[in-house]
Amino acid sequence: MALMNILNTVNHTLDHEMERDNTLVVYGEDVGYEGGVFRATVGLQKKYGKDRCFDSPLAEAGIVGSAIGMAINGLKPVVEIQFSGFILPAMNQIIAHAARMRNRSRGRFSLPMVIRAPYGGGIRALEHHSESLEAIFAHIPGLKVVIPSTPYDTKGLLLAAIRDPDPVIFLEPKRIYRAFKQEVPEEDYIIPIGKAKVIKEGRDITVVTYGAMVPQVQEAVKQLEKEGISVELIDLRTISPLDKETIIKSVQKTGRFAAVHEAVKSFSVAAELISTVNEGAFLYLEAPPTRITGFDITIPLPRGEHHFLISPEKIIKKIKEVVEF
C-alpha cells in the first residue's frame, strides 16, 4: 500500500503491468524520454527501454492507427493523447477502425488497446486543453469509455482496460490528477468495466456523476445531508457500456434523479441517463429528472471559465429543486 494521487497511480499501474506483460508498449507525444507533459509515464522508458516506452511523431491518427496495427500483431499498446481535445485528428482511426475491427473481421481481429487522454476543464488552460468529449465516444458501438474518479479506482479500472480484449478510451480527470491521495494496494486488482459504483446510499434522490465531478458532488451531498436530504450517489466509472441496472434500481428506490457532468448539456451523457431512467423507472418518477451540466457553449478560456464550471452550490440548488418539486 502506498499513498498516491491519480497521476501517480496511472504511472504505478502502467509500471505494474509493463513488468507483468512484455507485450505492453506505451507511447505518444513526449511520452518517452520526458515521461509525458503531466509526467504520467515518467521513468518507464528508463526502466523498460526505448522499445517499450517511446516518443512518437506529432500525429494523433498515426498514434492511434499504428496502435491498431500493433494490437493486431500481438502487442498491447497503451497510447497517450496529450489532451483530450487533440484526439480529434484521430477520430477516423477511433470510430472507423478501432471500434469496428472485431465486427468487421467477424471476431478474427480484436484490438486490446487503450487510448489514455486527460479530459475536462478547471485547470486554467489554453483553448483545446479542457475538452469533455465522452458523449461522442459513448455513442459509438464497439468502444468502451472509462473515467476513474479516485486513485484506487484508477488502478483497478486501468488494469481492466489494459487487459480488456477490446479498445478502451480511458479519460483521466486531470483537474483532480493531484487533488488528493489514497491508499493504493501494491497488488493486482481489477475493477470491472461496465459497473457503476454506489458511493453512498440514500433515499430522496439518485445523483449520477463521474470523473472530476465526483468530489464536487460529494461536497454538495455533504451539505445536503446536513439539511436532511438523503442522496444516493453513483459514480458511473464506465460511461459506455452503461450500467443501466444500478441506475434504474436506484431510481426505483428514490423516485428522483439528477445527472451531473461538466460536458455540455445537449445530446450528452446526461441526456442518455435521463432516457435510461425513463425507460426503466418511469412509473417511479416523482419529479422531472434534471441535468446539472455545462452550458451549450465552448468551454471558456480561464478568465471566464468560472461561469462554466459546476460548483457544489450549483449542484445543491438544482438537487433541491428536484427534491422539492
Partner: protein, 361 residues
Amino acid sequence: MLIEKYSPLEGKMLSIMDIEGNIVKKDLMPQIKDEKILELYKMMLLTKIADTKALQYQRQGRMLTYAPNRGQEAAQLGAIAATEERDWLVPAFRELGAWFYKGVPLEQVYLYWYGSEMGSKFPENVKMLPVSVPISSQINHGAGLAMASKYKGEDHVTMAFVGDGGTSHGEFHEGMNFAAVFDAPLIVIIQNNQYAISVPRHVQTKTKTLAEKAVAYGIPGIQVDGNDIFAMYLAAKDAVERARKGEGPTLIEAVTYRLGPHTTSDDPSIYREDSEVEEWSKKDPVERLKKYLINNELWSEERDQKQIEEYEELVNATFKRVENSGETPLEDIFKYHYETMTPILEEQLKEYKSNLEGSEK
C-alpha cells in the same frame, strides 16, 4: 541497391519487359523459377476472370457492388510475390491478385462484395487485414503491424497498398512518417491507376511522380512500370530485403491503369476518353505476361483457353454458392462488437427476437 539507382527525381522508371513480352533489360531480370511465373500468370488469369465475372453478375443484378482490378494485375501480383507467407498484407480495396496470392478464397472475396462481413474473416493463416474503405487510413495500420514485428524480433515484413488518390490524405503522410521514423519493415505500394474515381492524377498532386513523395520521409522511393510483373517483383523484392534487414520502409509507385470502372456504380465515360483506355489496353499486363510465357514456350494458347474455361467454371460455381449462402444471421450483427456482449446489446437482441417471434405468430 537497385532502388537507389532509380531515383524518381531523375525521371527514372523501372521496367524490364516490353509490351510484347520481351525482356529488354536482361541484366535486371529477376531470378524467378518458371513454375512460380506460371503460378503468377494463373493468378493473374483468375483475377481477371473473377473480375470480369463480378462485373457481369452485378450488371445482371446479382452482385451488390464491385471494384474491378482489370489492368492492375501485375502491379498487385508482382509486388506481393516478393513476400512470404509470414508477411502481412494490408489492402486498400483493389488488390484482388494480391489477396489471392495471400490465400484469400475467392468465395470470401465474393461474399465481401455481395455484402457480408463474413467476406472479411479470412482463414487464420492468411495474414491480411480486411479491406480498408477509409482511404489511406490503412497505412497507419501497416506502420503499426511492422513496428510490432520489429518489436518482437521477427523478420516479418508488411506490405500495404494505397491508390494515387490516397497519397493526398493526411493518414498517408502520418503512416509513412511513422514507418520511416521507427525503421519499420513496411513496403507501401501505390497503385497509380491514373484516377481517383473521376479525378485524374494531375489534379491530386503537382509532383511529377508519386514515388518522389518518399523524399518527405527520408526513405527510398521508386517508380515502376506497374504493368510489368517482373519490374514490380524486382522492386518489391529489393524493398522486402531492405525491410527484413532492418533498413526501414520503401515507397513503390506502380504506374498502371484501371481499365474498368471505379466500381460498378461508376461511369468512366464521363471523365475519360476511349482512346486513353485503348492506349492502355495495349499494355495489358495479363497479355504481356502471356506473350512472355508463350515466347519462352512455357505456355500455349490452348492451355490458356483450357485454363480460362476451368476458371470460369470455378468462378461461376463459387458465385452460385455465395448467392445461395443466405442472409446474415441476426445474432451475428450483435455478437462481434465486443468479446462479451454487453447487457445493453443482449437486451436489444432479446427484444428484437421476441418481436420477430411475435410477428411470426
